[in-house]
Symmetry: C2
Subunit: 148 residues, 2 copies
DNA sequence: ACAATCCCGACTGGAATGATAGGAAAGCAT
DNA sequence: ATGCTTTCCTATCATTCCAGTCGGGATTGT
C-alpha cells in the first residue's frame, strides 16, 4: 500500500546525489546512474522531466551535466514528489478526466482522507534535501564516499 | 499521489453500509450496490474476498446476504486496507518477488519512509467503523436516510 | 570537425485495474 | 423434488500504467 513509482524513487536519489555535490561541477547522467544503480537511459528521461519542472538545470557538451536549480535547503521532498506524482489525494479522482470521483462530498470517509492528506503533506513538505544530508551525516546511515 | 484502488474504496463503503445496519438482517449485494453506486457484479467479487479474509460473513438463499464478522467497534479501517492492499510500505518492494527493493538499508530516505509509514498506520488503525459512524452522525456530513 | 553529453519521441512487454459473464452451489418455501 | 433467490467460483476482456529500451538529433567545448 502507498508504493511510490520507481521513477520517483530514482528521482529522489538522483537529486540527493546532486545535493551532495551541489558546489561542484555539473554531474553527468552516467555518473549518477552508476552511483545509485539506476538504468542510464531511464535516468535520462527522469532528469529531463525534472528539468522541465524547474527542479534541475543542465548543460550539454563535454563538460556538461546536471545541477540543482536551487540550493538544497530550498528544495523539499514534497515538491519533487508532487511534481512527479501529482497532488496528495487518497481518493480515486482521475488525473485527466475531472469527472466525479468515486467519493463525493457526502462520502463518510472524507474526514479521514483529509486528515491523512494533511499529515503526509506536512511531513514531506518540511523535509528539504539539506535536512536529509545532515540527518544522514549525523546518524551515519549513509556514507557518501566521495573521492574527488 | 497515494490513490487507493476503486476496489478498496468500494469495499470501505460497503462495509460502512453493513456497519450502519449491523443489528438488522443480512444485507444483499444488490441493495448495497444500489445504495453506494457500485457495479453489482464487481461488488460480488469484493465481498467474496472480504469473506475469505474473515471481515464479513454471509448466508445464501432467499433471506441471505452479508453482515460484519465482528461488531463495528472492533473493525478498523486499517485492517481492511491492509488486507486489500498489503502492508503500508512507501518503498517499491514488489508484492510477489521478495527480491531486493529499489531502496536498501543504506537508502538515505529510509528514515523518512519509516516515519511516514508509522504515521499513516497509526491513523488508519485507530479508526474503527463505529468511530466513523459516530463522527458522521455528529457532524451530519452523511445522512443515512434509512426507511425500514 | 569531433567527441562528449544532453535531448526527444516512439516503442515494448508485463502487470495491475476495473470491470463483465456463465454457470455452480447453497438455502428456503411450497 | 422443484423452483426461486442469492451467494460463490472461474474465466475473460479492455484499458491504462509502469519500467525500461532504442535510435537518432541538438549543443557545447576543444
Amino acid at each position: 500500500m502507498f508504493h511510490f513509482s520507481s521513477r520517483s524513487l530514482y528521482a529522489l536519489r538522483a537529486l540527493y546525489e546532486l545535493a551532495l555535490c551541489e558546489q561542484g561541477p555539473p554531474m553527468k547522467i552516467a555518473f549518477i546512474a552508476q552511483r545509485q544503480k539506476i538504468p542510464t537511459r531511464f535516468l535520462e528521461g527522469i532528469l529531463a522531466q525534472l528539468k522541465r519542472g524547474g527542479i534541475v538545470e543542465s548543460r550539454r557538451g563535454v563538460e556538461g551535466g546536471y545541477h540543482l536549480a536551487r540550493r538544497s535547503q530550498y528544495l523539499t521532498i514534497g515538491e519533487v514528489l508532487r511534481f512527479l506524482e501529482g497532488p496528495v489525494d487518497f481518493t480515486n479522482s482521475q488525473k485527466k478526466g475531472k469527472k466525479d470521483s468515486i467519493s463525493g462530498p457526502t462520502d463518510p470517509f472524507n474526514g479521514l482522507w483529509q486528515k491523512l492528506e494533511k499529515t503526509v503533506e506536512t511531513a514531506i513538505d518540511e523535509m528539504t534535501f539539506r535536512d536529509l544530508i545532515e540527518f544522514n551525516e549525523r546518524t551515519g546511515q549513509y556514507i557518501p564516499n566521495y573521492i574527488i
